[in-house]
Symmetry: C2
Subunit: 321 residues, 2 copies
Amino acid sequence: MAVYTEVGDADLEELLRAYDLGTILSFKGIAEGVENSNFLLRAETGTYILTLYERRVAEGDLPFFIGLMEHLAERGIRCPLPVHGRDGLALRRVAGRPAALISFLEGMWVRRPQPHHCAAVGQALAEMHQAGRDFPLRRENALSLAGWPPLFEMSRERADEVETGLAAFVDKELAALASAWPIGLPEGVIHADLFPDNVFFLRGKLSGLIDFYFACNDLLAYDLAVCLNAWCFEPDCAFNITKGRAMIRAYANVRRLDAAELEALPILARGAALRFLLTRLYDWLTVPAGALVTPKDPREYLRKLRFHLKVTSAADYGVAA
Amino acid sequence: MAVYTEVGDADLEELLRAYDLGTILSFKGIAEGVENSNFLLRAETGTYILTLYERRVAEGDLPFFIGLMEHLAERGIRCPLPVHGRDGLALRRVAGRPAALISFLEGMWVRRPQPHHCAAVGQALAEMHQAGRDFPLRRENALSLAGWPPLFEMSRERADEVETGLAAFVDKELAALASAWPIGLPEGVIHADLFPDNVFFLRGKLSGLIDFYFACNDLLAYDLAVCLNAWCFEPDCAFNITKGRAMIRAYANVRRLDAAELEALPILARGAALRFLLTRLYDWLTVPAGALVTPKDPREYLRKLRFHLKVTSAADYGVAA
């Protein structure tokens, strides 16, 4: 839920001068995206999303994100396409914030994914990985292995407020992951946050991927591990092997997973679970009392992490290595 | 900024079964309306707003609001039109809340109104008052003269936190208004909250009025007083007589203001200013620390009220009685 920056009449007029949109028919703040302010803009020429990038997005990363969406769209990935202004630029300032106008993607996100949705996501993820291969820019993953210990430091002291023993558990887990993290697996551009609310479906088919603002260079199979966590657990945090199998198989049909990647899947899934546990833990402990937005419960990812600790091989996710 | 209730897949499917909308193309929470949850729904048959009525709207008042929008729309007032389902009903339950699907109104609200906007609003307000004449339902104005003292009781003790002496000032004002409030002026259905964000303009012309959830029966000239406060002051709280004149004249061109109404305008404007001072004061004092939504500053309406205290006749608003 978000609209952090107000867009005034003068800002809108300036925007109109910068693009060939025709008359603006409506302009409404939309309650999606926690990081940025988003507005739905209907104009004579079409429907667009205006995104104002707020403080949590580093301005220096924007050319990577905008360039990636263009790169992927050119290669047939259905994702929002930045619109270029009369000056040729896709990135500008609106109401004092860095901003981009992007094409509107039809479709809705699925609240309760079924196995066929998981398969569609696996396929789209692999297609995205393939399409991103020759993308020339690089962005390190600030929320990977090396980033987790300093991230945890910000919550460490109060972690046991969420569950007794949590601080010690995470310390142990950080050490275990540091020593077991795989090296040499295929790398590339990953989405890094492909949760159900970032995947649109229309008439039962996947219609697009959105929100590339965590995209970065990292292990491709780690991205699949993020998706397994986000899509293949039931609301009671039980892993659904039918969904896992559907997702991994559909992925591998597009981009072959080598034996080392499949073997590393349990440790990657642990890491991916820890990454979301840590950011949710921080948000949980720092949310202002009485805020309208309820932060997501970090314990969901603690339970997923515990599942992965019991996993012995990729077979537990539905596929044999 | 609002989306208080989540609408799940099953809720949406049920909604689809209730209406003839065709395939849903997108569904997004919108960050407008403080009282209710609003969703923009694009379907094959058109674009709609789904409103879920939250706790601050009394369910018993909904037939008045929904009926009023239909009544006004039938008489040519451009306002959202409730859509009837296959069962003939316009009001139903979605995700456990009372809800209505209404037509989407194109246009944008004006952040910095100019005199011609004020004139357009004056005209539209008078047209609405005329169109509402034969509306058969009644709803008392809970936020009029009799409602202000109990409303102030909820903030009284802490009022001086906002400005020293505020509690005593409001007490005196409540007493003065109670003894001077006009009787016998023309009554009817009023909008009661026609602020700039509730009036849409498209290609320079007024394209519609929205948000009828404070509508009620009260003095028609009081509604004009609300608009004078909301539209005709500059950001520094100086009254703009050009705007006032434009609004009142345009109103009177459609519905004649009689001498008693013009004479009462200063006291009505004081009352209207006090009404928004009181609700803003309450919101200001009760907003949770750190909430994402900043409540509106009650002192804006205190300054407007002080202006009206110096007014001697309607001539100070730009028209002679």
